[in-house]
């Protein structure tokens, strides 16, 4: 374990990803401490270009874009972490249960998984978001998490099936271990690296989903997220005002955060998946 951590620290992809993320973390922690104003407060005229007073200019409400970015990135990351945790947990439980039990349980759970892989999760996300009117950040995160588990479930199931009849698992079974113990001690350790990577991907796609629903105007209410900033910018026709500072910074932030998570995932993949290790 220590040696793989060491290789990980030497992987350029992993380190670039971690450093990029660290920059964003530092920004969302430190900047609100320096500028303690309310991000929703109007500080200037609308669509003011970047200046010494407002480093990234102001949006269509006359709010400070940089301060909004700090709070918005925090919201987006929160949504990503919570939805990623939920999606991974649900996927893991369904996948392991269906793969380890087999038989009719497996049939039912796999069918369910396949059905929800084919029906676009974004559509379900829209339908649910439409039907709930006042949404907190947590509710959005929970909805995203509950609509994006099928991929994880499918992969975990496949891996569990291949592990189920390995000798060490059979041995544990003969020794009279109960199912929970077998799953926790004989199966989980083998798929843990995969689960961690799946979590990272789920986190990144959670951030994207939040940005997408928020852009449609279905995002959390009374708060700022990167998607909500984009939604406002489009609604207020920022392109007509040539106000690139209201669109490009949040858009790039979403892209860079997902990029760094993908890099971290790729770096880990190279360590845990010897086939592609160069």
């Amino acid at each position: 374990m220590r040696s793989s951590l060491y290789i990980l620290l030497k992987s350029p992809k992993f380190m670039i990803g971690v450093c990029l993320l660290f920059v964003f973390f530092a920004f969302i922690v430190i900047y609100p401490m320096i500028n303690t104003n309310d991000p929703l407060e109007m500080v200037n005229m609308r669509f003011q270009p970047p200046s010494s007073k407002n480093i990234l200019g102001t949006d269509g409400f006359g709010r400070d874009v940089l301060l909004e970015m700090a709070h918005g990135t925090r919201t987006s990351l929160t949504v990503g972490v919570i939805s990623g945790l939920i999606a991974t947990t649900v996927g893991l439980i369904i996948g392991i249960f269906s793969g380890y039990r087999g038989g009719i349980v497996d049939e039912i759970l796999s069918s369910l998984t396949n059905v929800f892989i084919v029906i676009p999760s974004f559509i379900i996300l829209i339908l649910v978001s439409v039907s709930i009117q006042a949404k907190s950040v947590f509710i959005i995160a929970i909805i995203i998490g509950l609509t994006s588990w099928p991929w994880t479930a499918r992969a975990v199931r496949a891996q569990t099936v291949s592990l189920r009849n390995r000798d060490h698992v059979n041995l544990a079974r003969i020794s009279g271990f109960n199912t929970v113990k077998i799953i926790v001690f004989e199966i989980l350790p083998y798929i843990m690296s995969y689960v961690v990577m799946a979590f990272i991907i789920q986190l990144a796609s959670g951030i994207l989903s939040e940005a997408s629903v928020s852009m449609l105007g279905l995002g959390p209410s009374n708060t700022i997220s990167l998607g909500i900033m984009l939604n406002w910018a489009l609604l207020q026709e920022a392109p007509l005002f040539n106000a690139w500072w209201t669109l490009i910074p949040p858009a790039l932030t979403v892209a860079l955060i997902t990029f760094s998570f993908y890099l971290i995932n790729l770096g880990m993949d190279e360590i845990f998946n010897p086939k592609i290790r160069s």
Binding site: V130, I132, M215, L263
Partner: protein, 335 residues
């Protein structure tokens, strides 16, 4: 032949089940909302002060939207209307039918997404296979760029294109589907305008697709290139071009299923792209419907998207069954 039929039949039943679940989600989820769509139409008729007239209006609308019956009954009526192709009445554009609204939006979306996804998929696969085969410099350039591009969601890429090429360099128009001075007609001028407005949304979808598919293909091709049959063929002295053909074919198959399974994500991403460019397709229609709480129209949009994704998945799976004998036999052994 019998085996093929069994495979198709199994897939068919499977998709019908998925369709039923999708339809019920589409029907029940928006109806979980508190409040009544009729109230939101009536709020437009504020001038009608007379309580009696108001009540009458309320009853008429309730009847028109079928809200006076219990939910399961409404679902059956909804299904019955669907078979007739009737998706209900739009609230936002009352009394326009949802069908009519969608019929004018759908060609734009299909015309945008189908070519973009196919182009991106094909080019991405060729580039990915090329990078995997050549390795070296090509791989060092193509791979990181693809990775960077593909971690951009479609709509983010659109926003950046919009600014850099659209507003700054004014290369192509940045909003709408065609020139507003023109009336849609089948003439050359209109067609030219459509193509010009098509460029940005098309590029932003296709480029992101190329990146994603390229990475997938590269990984598959690398895996195949390291496999025993390739080494063995090399020892046998089979011509290199022949080996590449084998590798490409084998690496291609998972990419076809990959296309089917990720289609839902792609279509959803591309819908948001429409929003950025104010393209007159289903995505922009849905955006307007959401802002106006037009539930029949929202569920019409989600329904049409789900149907399209299901149908293309079904077609891909059927094609896959024909192309790849392994899958077919595996499916049959299962049952």
């Amino acid at each position: 032949m019998n085996n093929y039929r069994k495979y198709f039949l199994k897939k068919g039943i499977w998709y019908i089940l998925t369709l039923v679940i999708a339809l019920s989600l589409n029907f029940y989820l928006p109806r979980m909302i508190k409040g009544n769509p009729v109230d939101s139409i009536l709020s437009k008729y504020k001038s009608v002060g007379n309580t009696d007239t108001r009540k009458k209006l309320y009853e008429t609308f309730t009847k028109e939207f079928g809200l006076d019956k219990p939910l399961p009954m409404q679902f059956l009526i909804y299904l019955k209307n669907l078979t007739k192709g009737d998706l209900g009445t739009s609230i936002m554009m009352y009394p326009k039918k949802v069908n009519a609204v969608l019929a004018s939006a759908l060609p734009w979306t299909v015309g945008l997404q189908l070519p973009a996804i196919l182009c991106g998929w094909l080019l991405g696969n060729v580039l990915g296979a090329f990078a995997a085969y050549k390795r070296g410099v090509y791989d060092k350039i193509i791979f990181p760029i693809s990775l960077f591009v593909t971690s951009f969601p479609f709509f983010i890429f659109s926003i950046i294109l919009l600014y850099v090429l659209g507003i700054h360099f004014e290369l192509f128009p940045i909003g709408g589907g065609y020139d507003y001075n023109l009336i849609p007609a089948l003439n050359f001028e209109f067609f030219k305008s459509v193509i010009r407005y098509h460029t940005f949304p098309f590029l932003s979808i296709a480029i992101v697709m190329i990146g994603g598919q390229g990475i997938g293909m590269r990984e598959m091709a690398l895996y195949e290139l390291n496999s025993d049959y390739v080494k063995y063929s090399k020892f046998l002295g089979i011509r290199e071009w022949k080996i590449i053909q084998y590798v490409f074919k084998n690496a291609m198959l998972p990419q076809i299923t990959g296309l089917g399974l990720s289609l839902g994500t792609m279509v959803s991403g591309a819908l948001i792209t429409e929003l950025v460019f104010n393209y007159p397709g289903v995505g922009t229609t849905m955006f307007a419907a959401i802002r106006n709480l037009d539930y029949p129209l929202i569920s019409g949009c989600t329904l049409i998207i789900t149907l399209a994704v299901l149908l293309s998945n079904f077609i891909i799976e059927i094609l896959y069954g024909i192309i790849d004998p392994r899958i077919k036999s595996a499916q049959l052994e299962d049952s």
